[in-house]
Amino acid sequence: MSIRSVAKKDFLDVRRSKSVWIVSGLYALLVVCFFYLGQSGPTEPNVVYQLSYLTSIGRVFIPIIALMMVYLAIAGERESGSIRYLLSLPNTRRDIVLGKYLSRGAVGASVILVAFGVGAVLAVLWYPSLEPTVFAGVAGLTVLLTLAYVSVAISISAATGSRSRAMAGSIGFYFISNLMMLVPSFSIVAALKYVLNGRLELGLSDYLFEFLRMLSPTIAFKKAFPLVVPSEVEAFMVNADPSAPAYLAPEVAFAILIAWLVIPAALGLWQFNRADLG
């Protein structure tokens, strides 16, 4: 299996990267801080509230971690020429993209799972209840968010030929999909709404614009939370509007998040297959 062989070598390589260790250490430290602060306050400690704070920070940081760990996976090898070794061996270009996705996805998922593992130990020690179902659900969705951005970074890395372009693409995607989407009234979608409804007076439904926003992996991640968090917990601030159309349901958000795992990587592979790697 060439995919496995490509992934194995890449895993060996990337796990020696200092930046990966620093980033995963920082994320684990963040988890420790949140769980420490949550049980030292005056109110009754509740794991679910800490998880909600963790995810709201995670929405901003995890995409950066994932993009940073992955954007050079293929573009870096193209620039340094080491991809010539990879492609001189019995590997197809598809093996390389999928193998890299597998290895970087495994590293990304490990970073998240280790941090949540540390969190679980602290929750057992410091909190009245671990809430294992919610805990596992939040960890699972966070892994999916990580993989969605790994998929995007793999795609950018496969489609661009140099470090600088891969970096520009990753930063651009981060701004568009994350920073400029998070706050509804300051998002790109709000700007679009201003043009379409405010200027052109098309009178489109607000739900439609909310759906556009949900197409971002970050927002899809946020909107999928009712699937794993019991409805009485309001900490996740998922506005459960009963009159909202079906296309804003958490199941749709979840499907969008899953689509981010597949579609960018597939597009990256398609572009990489056509490219001249001279």
Partner: protein, 323 residues
């Protein structure tokens, strides 16, 4: 079945740049083929086309009978490649590089034996490749190319970064591989290093294959001059005219006490030496086998001279030699 065969292979970049122009090249199984040409002649692009790193604008190519674009995996499992200018993985040790290639190719080679074959110390192989010198990296790359006993070795500028000892060892390995029946295809911009090992050479210039054949055949066809220089005590007046009258002497130049004679064939050099020796006292003799460099230069610069005759000559030679 030829090891490498290209048919009207062409690679254009944009409108104006033709990196490889209508290339028809055949490398037979079991031969050592030297792929020559100055930098930028299209050698690397040709190799990139053979390895499916870049896609041809027109034409096609097969390696070991497989189409390069349709069956790259089948090709890659039976060839060994030393790519040019490729960096290793800084964070992996030399040994890990080899273990990865062995795993990837599904072969059962012994890393230690390969390391010894290319002359890389076990201590060096235990270090990360990030700290390797160019020569060490080249040796490791060569060991990686030898994994799985390939049927065809493609070596792109294999001697770059090697010292003379390394080059000598490289030649020995190439010869040993050829003796085992491996086809070796290697590119170089230095003519001298191919002469000792190559059965046949092909010379590229400006994206076109300007000549193929054995070095002897190419030399013979060009009828290149061999030159000899003698330092003498004094140059007698009549000597130059006498030498010029000698059959097989192209030209005679005198620079102070040095007489340089350009001969049509190498045996003429002996006549020149005896003739000068009879006329004056010879202090030093330098016989230069410049034919090799000149051969190269004639093929690669000839077209740029802009002389219609030279072009016609080259075209005639080309068809003769490759036939």
């Amino acid at each position: 079945m030829p090891a490498i065969e290209t048919t009207a292979l062409t690679k254009r970049y944009g409108e104006n740049v033709i990196a490889v122009d209508d290339l028809d090249l055949t490398v037979e199984e079991g031969e050592v083929f030297g792929f020559l040409g100055p930098n930028g002649a299209g050698k690397s692009t040709t190799i990139n086309l053979l390895l499916d790193f870049v896609r041809p604008t027109e034409g096609s190519a097969t390696v070991l009978g497989y189409d390069v674009q349709r069956e790259p995996k089948a090709i890659r499992s039976r060839i060994g490649v030393l790519p040019e200018g490729a960096t290793l993985y800084d964070r992996l040790t030399g040994r890990e590089h080899l273990e990865w290639v062995i795993d990837n190719k599904g072969s059962d080679d012994d890393p230690a034996a390969l390391l010894e074959r290319v002359g890389l110390e076990p201590a060096a192989a235990a270090r990360s490749a990030g700290g390797y010198s160019k020569g060490m990296a080249q040796r490791l790359g060569f060991a990686m190319a030898l994994v799985g006993d390939p049927d065809l070795l493609i070596l792109d500028e294999p001697s770059s970064g090697l010292d003379p000892k390394g080059m000598q060892e490289l030649r020995e390995i190439i010869t040993a591989e050829a003796d085992r029946g491996t086809t070796v295809f290697f590119s170089s911009h230095i003519l001298g290093e191919v002469e000792a090992v190559c059965d046949r050479v092909g010379i590229m210039n400006d994206g076109r294959l300007v000549a193929t054949g054995t070095l002897d055949a190419l030399r013979e066809n060009l009828d290149l001059a061999a030159s000899i220089s003698l330092t003498v005590e004094r140059v007698p007046d009549a000597l130059v005219a006498d030498l010029e009258a000698h059959e097989g002497v192209h030209s005679v130049t005198v620079d102070g006490s040095t007489i340089t004679v350009s001969c049509a064939r190498t045996p003429v050099k002996y006549d020149v030496v005896t003739q000068i020796g009879a006329a004056t006292t010879v202090l030093d003799i330098v016989s230069e086998d410049t034919s090799l460099e000149r051969l190269f230069n004639t093929y690669t610069n000839g077209e740029q001279s802009g002389e219609g005759d030279a072009d016609a000559d080259l075209a005639a030679i080309e068809s003769e030699v490759s036939a």
